[in-house]
Symmetry: C2
Subunit: 291 residues, 2 copies
Amino acid sequence: MTSVRELLRVGPAVDLKDIDPSSTPGLPGRKITGKDSKSWAREQLALIGGQLTVKQEMLYAGAKAGDNRRLLLVLQAMDCGGKDGTVKKVAGAMNPLGLHIVSFGPPTEEEREHDFLWRIRRALPPTGLVGVFNRSQYEDVLIARVESLVPETAWRARYGQINGFERELADNGFALVKVMLHISYDEQRERLLERLTDPTKHWKYDPADVDARARWADYQGAYSDALSQCSTDHAPWYVVPANRKWYRDWAVANLVLEAFDEMRLSYPEADFDLDAERRRLEADRAPAMAP
Amino acid sequence: MTSVRELLRVGPAVDLKDIDPSSTPGLPGRKITGKDSKSWAREQLALIGGQLTVKQEMLYAGAKAGDNRRLLLVLQAMDCGGKDGTVKKVAGAMNPLGLHIVSFGPPTEEEREHDFLWRIRRALPPTGLVGVFNRSQYEDVLIARVESLVPETAWRARYGQINGFERELADNGFALVKVMLHISYDEQRERLLERLTDPTKHWKYDPADVDARARWADYQGAYSDALSQCSTDHAPWYVVPANRKWYRDWAVANLVLEAFDEMRLSYPEADFDLDAERRRLEADRAPAMAP
């Protein structure tokens, strides 16, 4: 099967207009799976989840033995693009003990007193953990650009700063999986309407999200530039068509699994004498209770 | 059905010797469930997990609307007692976005320069999240006492300090679920042997854990005192018999669910005009793409 990474990776001149948000690259058809795509993808997700959990444990165990590696999944999307849902389904398939999830909102007063990468560095996962960034340093070339929060010279300089930062991470044991969840304008409206219809989703609805739709084209352009400028060999960008949630989850899980595979993880060897320890324990049968 | 909290809650004079680590309080028998206890408990855990996820989302949504509440699950146990496994199964049934999990190891140099509660306060979950403490402030009246890391006057004073701290938490929106996972001396040996037998578990094995078995009775005594001194109305202790992992997971999930139920959570009301928003979105059908 073709690698999902190869299919979804974007090059140095990507335009989101050329990518169909309803497409399902890499998904085998009914002739191969014997069932409809959605059922198949959901079943596969459960299987991939089990594999992710094993890899995650190997990463965790390796860190205890001195391995400095870690994996960082970066999620970006327009409002309603499915970042939270992807975390729930893909990260939720792993062991929560080995996850380090950080959601970035508008910068706090303290964060604004520092360089834009300051809060990002503080949020990096420790060795052995799988990090998930729900939004990221890329907000500083997206909303910061579209809403004119900084001058053009400032946001333009950030592409290079981000590339340098990610180069440093890659050199220090980070496997970076950067994913843009790509939905259509119509799909966003449907999801906003769904939040109005379902009373258990009212809390997710923000009228400001509808205001932001007026700047949809500007955001799509800013995304296309950020993806083009910052899809590097050490930290490529993947665009996941995300109108279909079951495809989105399956694709992101595959991207993470393929990154894990490339790390060639394994459980560390014992650094103690197995036989001696077994003898100690076999001899230790009497309960040492207090008299 | 009797509340699991009532069955497992300990009073002001608990002795762990009186609690059978292989017992299964509150678990209905085969006559009621129609199947063996383990299968039934595993099935129930999946159902309870779904309920926990809904409550967790209500808590999260409530925080966005100004509710200051949060839930904190505190896990303590002897080595191999199943803390990590409980986090994986019980916290793993919830949405990772709404979890705040902290594992406490030996204090760092910086942490030792502060009061023992300093690092605990810094690790508290923000409003709206479910916190999990994998070890906790109780290490400072357990290992600190048994290994004589501080003088007796110091650890004796900590019971009151912990009670005051937890009173403060309860007064500020925290629902506290403190759980001691209770295994037997023999079960610990079996689990240590299993870690030697299975190569994928070697990394979990620490020869120092076998050394610590020599002080088993001292630890059990220190636990009994900590539970007795710090099981208060605002922050009771529960002892979960944990020799059977499937009972342990079921019981802890129930303790968390009952704590959630007591919080009487609900989704917040919309703070915007539903009809006006729906009209705005219905009118917004044309894709606002750039020319």
